[in-house]
Structures are given as structure tokens and as C-alpha cells.
Point group: C2
Chain length 173, copies 2
């Protein structure tokens, strides 16, 4: 695999979103075992002024699906933040992955010097490369990790390999 | 900035470790304001079977300082995990940043197809690119985010921009 702006972003988003979906499965299993409403996990948060689990998923989705459009000065595809259930949230992740799979390497590669503007940074711009490495990637992993941490804090049986997901291992010589 | 295996890893590690050091400063300030021992924050964790704040810092340091050596089949520089105080932990971060600053782009670039073996994956290998994108980057941000989350959970006055750090913004036209 060659290193390019596409290969270090979009496929990583797709993989981590798949892992995130499996976190939800483990949360559901935990709720069943404990005979609790899985909704309590969706609304759980680590601090009163941090977002709950469900919102972390929406934000991870937003970071991922807005990445390529921002490089191209177009509007990201809109998904209303109306998810209420685990099924809704898993569907949101699936839809986000579908959007990401439709992004072509040529939509991202070569956009290092694109001018990226963001509504929450009025009057300012940053390069496509800086947007990717200073904002998009760290922010995306922030929300995936925080979602994981919320579930771990609630006793859901997750481990580091759930966070990392599958690895492209081969046999060593 | 061009996208290369170096530019999407080492400078990101350096930046996030600088942010991590500033999390510690805010933790110290919080402890002073609340008249609590900052050591209680260093030992705080989000779940009984997750690592505490101090260990998250050591692990972020380990991920960062072992990255380039792993690509080159060499042993990462050793830093004993003996930090007991905020000063120790800040010194660990400073030392890690110093190690990272000494890494040349040529130590990393072009190593996409290097064979990377890891002691915890015996008999297996993965490519340099897969190591970077499937393990090193996500794992590094995992520990930075978890460190942040532990402090937030304890009421330390941190916000998302502390996590993101400075941005290379210029004035939009």
C-alpha cells in the first residue's frame, strides 16, 4: 500500500467505524446479560459536559463523512442526528461506511494544498494536509476512543483488540 | 506539506504529546484549586481493568518512540516506566519528543513494505504501512484520548481544543 492522503484517512475511517459498530453489539450483549435498557448506555457519558455515547457515534460519523467534501469545498452529505436506538446507530454507521466507500482516491489525493474552510473557524482557512492531520484524524479517533471508554466505564466487555480491529498479518519467515 | 509515511506520523506524535503535557498542567492546576494530591489524578482510571492516567502517558510515549525503530527492525529507545510524579511524567513526554525530533524523514519514508514484527504477535508480521495505519496511529490516539478522558471524568477543566492543540490557520481570502 502506498502512502497517500486517501490511504491514510478514508480506509482508516471505514475500519474504525466497523469496529465501532461491534462495540455497539457488545453493549447490547452487556445490557441483555445485566437486564438493563441498552438506552442507558447510549445516554451514558464520562462527564456532565461531555457528549454521551450515541452522540460520540454521530460525531465520528460526521468527521468521517465530511472529510472528502471539505477538501473539495462541497457540502458533506447530511444525516439527521435523530438516532434513538442501537439499530438506528448501527444503521448510521452503515450509511457512513457506504458514503466513505463511494469516495474515490482521486477525491482526496493531491488535495494537500486545497483551501479548507470550516464554519466554526470563520475567516480562517487551513490546507488540506493540515485539515487531515491536525483535525480530521485526531478528532475522528477522539470520538471512537471516547465511545469505547464510555462503554468500558460502564463495564461492557471490550478490550484493546476490539478497538484495534483486525490486522493484516501474515506469517513471519 | 507532502503526504508521506513520516509526515502523517512523527509530527503528529510530537504535536499530540505536547498537548498531553498541557493536560498535565491543567490537572496540576485542578489539584491545586481543589487542594487535592495530584497523585490521585495520576492513579485515576475509567474502569478497574483499564490503565490509569500515568500509564496512559507511558503507553503514548512507547507507541510514539517505538514507531520508527519498528519500521527499521531496531530496538526502540528504552525509558523505564518509573515515573511517580507530574514532573517525572512531563520529563518523560519531553524526552519522547526529543527522541522523535531526532528521527529523520528518511528513517520512515519508503518503509511502507518493511516487515514489522512485534513481540506480542509471535510468528506474524505486517507491513510498515499496515503497522502505521492499523496499529501505531490508532493506538497512539487511543492513549492520548483516554488520558484526556480520565482527566475530564475527574472534573479537570479541559476542552476539545486542548486535545486538538494549535492549528495552522491563515486568513481566508
Amino acid at each position: 500500500m502506498k502512502t497517500s492522503l486517501y490511504t491514510v484517512t478514508v480506509p482508516l475511517f471505514i475500519k474504525a467505524l466497523g469496529n465501532l459498530s461491534s462495540f455497539i453489539d457488545k453493549a447490547v450483549l452487556h445490557a441483555e446479560n445485566k437486564k438493563i435498557d441498552p438506552g442507558t448506555l447510549l445516554e451514558s457519558r464520562l462527564a456532565p459536559d461531555m457528549y454521551p455515547f450515541a452522540r460520540q457515534i454521530q460525531l465520528a460519523s460526521d468527521q468521517a463523512k465530511s472529510f472528502a467534501p471539505r477538501l473539495n469545498g462541497s457540502e458533506p452529505p447530511s444525516i439527521p442526528d435523530t438516532e434513538k436506538t442501537v439499530e438506528d446507530l448501527k444503521a448510521r454507521i452503515d450509511k457512513t461506511i457506504e458514503i466513505l466507500k463511494a469516495i474515490k482516491p482521486s477525491d482526496v489525493d493531491g488535495k494537500e494544498d486545497a483551501e479548507v474552510t470550516l464554519s466554526y473557524l470563520p475567516g480562517k482557512k487551513l490546507t488540506g494536509f493540515d485539515f487531515a492531520t491536525q483535525l480530521a484524524l485526531p478528532n475522528f479517533y477522539f470520538h471512537i476512543t471516547t465511545a469505547y471508554a464510555i462503554l468500558r466505564h460502564n463495564g461492557v466487555d471490550l478490550g484493546k483488540m476490539d478497538f484495534i480491529g483486525g490486522l493484516s498479518l501474515t506469517d513471519a519467515a
